[in-house]
């Protein structure tokens, strides 16, 4: 549901092609470490107007997407 927004921010951050980012892409493979995912979520606040605090490690784009959806109720 938030895949496009996450992929856009990841692509901007890493310089990779947004078309190469899949839901099962691992952040580590994209050159994004655990602390970066915290920052990513903060950038998403600006992008899609949500305010969510990450409280566990997420491995993939889809993990983050699912996490945000779970917190959105």
């Amino acid at each position: 549901m938030y895949f496009d927004a996450i992929a856009k921010i990841v692509a901007e951050r890493t310089g990779c092609d947004v078309a190469d980012i899949r839901p099962d892409s691992k952040f580590s493979e994209l050159g994004i470490d655990s602390l970066d995912t915290v920052e990513l979520l903060m950038n998403l606040e600006d992008e899609i107007g949500i305010e969510i605090e990450l409280d566990h490690k997420v491995e993939t784009i889809d993990d983050l997407d699912q996490f945000i959806q779970s917190r959105q109720g």
């Binding site: 470490d33 602390l35 915290v38 920052e39 903060m42 605090e53």
Partner: protein, 242 residues
């Protein structure tokens, strides 16, 4: 030097915290004072910061040992100030007593406020620091955390723990431009050290006297601006723990 920055000072209504709040305000930082109980003292600190230096200053009541309360208060400070750049974890309590007869609640209360309180503050401010790609955390520990102190096993343990927290945070957050340092005051003349006036260690201070809260504030001012210093424990103790 800190114009446009916002500093949060826990335990900022008196003693060392108050001196640090005044010092950082004098350097241009906006000040958010977190206090446990004395609203009048906290408001007085804020009023003086604002009147004498023209910075924005506000007081917030919060039990730093309460994870959820800290989260809410940091969100409030963010709403009021926009963000946080400097965090000074100064809030601390003592419940002195001999280890052999210490009550469990006295041990827990001290560790919860002094150590977990600092964790709670760092935990909830770090997102803002990461977002800003800069941040400065200053934890007020104690020479008791370095040397130990008879009758203060809970306090010493909490302050030694704070040094471990400082160094881990320094390592973990350095890649994000966030520094974390500690100050280890020795015997500083404040309300809290009133109970220490009979301590035989006082006679062993090489400089021969107790320190002032302003001595600690000078160290905080240095660490707030020392861009290449992280993971340091800076003693301000007249030489007692060297």
């Amino acid at each position: 030097m800190l114009k446009g920055k916002t500093a949060v000072v826990t335990g900022g209504s008196r003693g060392i915290g108050r001196a640090i709040a005044y010092k950082l305000a004098s350097m241009g930082a906006n000040i958010a004072v977190i206090y446990a109980g004395n609203a009048e003292a906290a408001e007085t600190v804020c009023r003086r910061c604002a009147e004498e230096t023209g910075v924005k200053a506000r007081a917030y009541q919060c039990d730093v040992a309460d994870f959820t309360a800290v989260k809410e208060k940091v969100a409030r400070i963010r709403a009021d100030f926009g963000t946080v750049h400097i965090l000074v974890n100064n809030a601390g309590i003592t419940r002195d007593g001999l280890l052999a007869i210490m009550k469990e609640e006295d041990y827990d209360a001290v560790v919860d406020t002094n150590l977990k309180g600092a964790f709670n503050m760092i935990r909830h401010c770090t997102g803002l620091f990461i977002r800003n790609r800069e941040g400065c955390i200053i934890n007020i520990t104690s020479v008791a955390g370095l040397m130990g102190n008879a009758g203060q096993c809970n306090y010493s343990a909490s302050k030694a723990g704070l040094i471990g927290l400082t160094k881990s945070a320094a390592r973990e957050l350095a890649p994000k431009g966030i520094r974390c340092n500690a100050i280890a005051p020795g015997f500083i003349a404040t309300d809290m050290t009133g109970s220490q006036t009979d301590n035989p260690l006082l006679g062993t201070i090489p400089m021969g006297r107790m320190g002032e809260p302003e001595d600690v504030a000078e160290a905080a001012a240095y660490l707030a601006t020392a861009k290449y210093v992280t993971g340091e424990v800076l003693r301000v103790d007249g030489g007692i723990a060297m």
